[in-house]
Symmetry: C2
Subunit: 195 residues, 2 copies
């Protein structure tokens, strides 16, 4: 079947990302070669370079895409005015978004060490923008008196680590559904910050 | 200077572990060869096999040593009878122990994927023993009425993820000392579980 270069490219680029994501998550960035990624996609190694200049760009693209998706999905949620309601929405959103993307989350944390300085700065800035949305809720809650935390920035890091930690043990086949886990974590988050 | 085989071995084995720890943390287990580890230690690759049969054994040994140290250090702390005091001790101990060993902590979480099944089961059993010490404090606290959590096991995972998360952002040169961070995290942990 004849395919135009455009449609071919449109199909291949996402497949390269998907293959790289899976291989990096399984073996680690440093252990995976462009040749292995090409083999997983089913193209010649040389053809890969039509889509991506090098492995570092691929890693940074994967992390950027993950954080762009995160920021976009977060921005699409209506932000409720009440800080505790906004915090509940954040908690449930964060758990669900991350539980659905274990490979991307794993790479986003673990392969920071392999980013070159410019890419690292870009990725950190995106991550910081996401963290800032939680800090803003906590500061807002301090303003209304609903929230009392010693340090909103540290509380942000603590809550995000606690919620992302679900990924280290959650299995779809476990004793609790993700809905039940959301409920339990919202209970803990609420108590952690409530005045 | 003449050295006996015994003293040589006693000196080399820890240096192999130290080199492997550092290389695995920087590049990832899968990307590091026994040859690179030997070069870092300053011995021939062949000599390495006098100390360690293969890279998998080395990885499992590193993780086991980390968790043995953790369990030993934890067991050395007097366990206070009051559950909230015991929880405070756990919180401060966990943060300090992990902040002092960023490479070992990084590997203990990140390289689980590279453990063969028998090693994985052993490492998970050790980790579970440590987690159980926290769950026991929470259950104890539920008994005295000091603690109210929906699910002691989930609260255990949440607290450990929150506390270990300090490692992802803490720098000795930052605006807060580790003592101050301990205080803030103890405040959050207390509120998270207090009845």
């Amino acid at each position: 079947m004849a395919r135009t270069a455009g449609s071919h490219s449109a199909l291949t680029a996402p497949r390269i990302r998907e293959a790289a994501l899976s291989l990096f998550a399984r073996h680690g960035y440093a252990a995976v070669s462009m040749r292995q990624i090409a083999a997983e996609v089913g193209v010649q190694a040389g053809a890969l370079y039509n889509y991506i200049p090098d492995k570092q760009t691929l890693l940074a693209d994967l992390m950027r895409a993950h954080l762009d998706d995160l920021l976009e999905a977060r921005a699409a949620l209506p932000l409720r005015a009440d800080p505790m309601q906004a915090l509940e929405d954040f908690t449930r959103f964060h758990i669900r978004f991350h539980a659905e993307r274990p490979d991307a989350v794993f790479i986003a944390y673990m392969e920071l060490r392999n980013l070159e300085p410019d890419n690292f700065a870009q990725i950190e800035a995106l991550r910081r923008r996401y963290e800032d949305t939680l800090t803003a809720i906590l500061v807002d809650g301090q303003g209304t008196g609903a929230v009392a935390v010693a340090d909103p920035r540290i509380a942000t890091m603590a809550i995000i680590a606690m919620l992302t930690g679900v990924n280290t043990w959650f299995r779809q086949t476990g004793r609790l559904s993700l809905d039940e886990i959301e409920d339990i974590y919202w209970g803990m988050t609420r108590r952690l910050v409530a005045a």
